[in-house]
Symmetry: C2
Subunit: 106 residues, 2 copies
Amino acid sequence: MQSLNKTITQKKANLLTAIAHPNRIKILEELRTEIKCNCELAPALGLEQSNLSRHLKVLTQSGILISWKDGLRVNYKIADARIFKILDQIESVALRTVPVLESEED
Amino acid sequence: MQSLNKTITQKKANLLTAIAHPNRIKILEELRTEIKCNCELAPALGLEQSNLSRHLKVLTQSGILISWKDGLRVNYKIADARIFKILDQIESVALRTVPVLESEED
DNA sequence: ACACTATATGAGTCTTCACTCATATAGAAA
DNA sequence: TTTCTATATGAGTGAAGACTCATATAGTGT
């Protein structure tokens, strides 16, 4: 039960870690309504190709995205739309939460 | 609009980063129904005092926890209960998402 | 004042992450 | 087969994160 809880906690942390990067959040927003490939995402997000490729790998390996080849391209889509409930929830919290000011931090 | 979007995306990433650690998720679960201090959380989570103190600092500085002194102790409580909607959502995704197998990763 | 308890933090180590450049691979099209 | 396009990845760098030990700080009680 402790080890089970540990496992699910670790899974939650892994999923959150996969989402917790500005570029990856932007990728998910780009894919909210459309299927896109690396070559469409790169210019849309202003990311270097290899960097984008690695971010997409993080999201795919964590199970958040699904990818498949289409000729030269690799397309990506959202595996589970509930990921957007999380993003929308976090946004509503982000808009209201008042973090401690820099000057009070240390 | 781009810079505004950038800011909110960064805020979302910062919040997610603050939550995205097993020990911090456990801390939040400990505080789901009760106010607790460092000295109560340390044994409950089996964390070294200084380590726990730093995790609590991350959560407090991101605005997820609120802390106040009570004699020698420092108490912590959840700033915004909506954080649990996020944790519960992520759990439901974590329970169903099938990540890519290790052997397929590389 | 002195000892005791709770918390915070400096310093050091080790690991992981984000990014870039260069190169490899794979498929398309000529 | 040669060339072009799209993607992946090795290698290197610099930054950030998690953790620990030792010590500092702050409040309690004697």
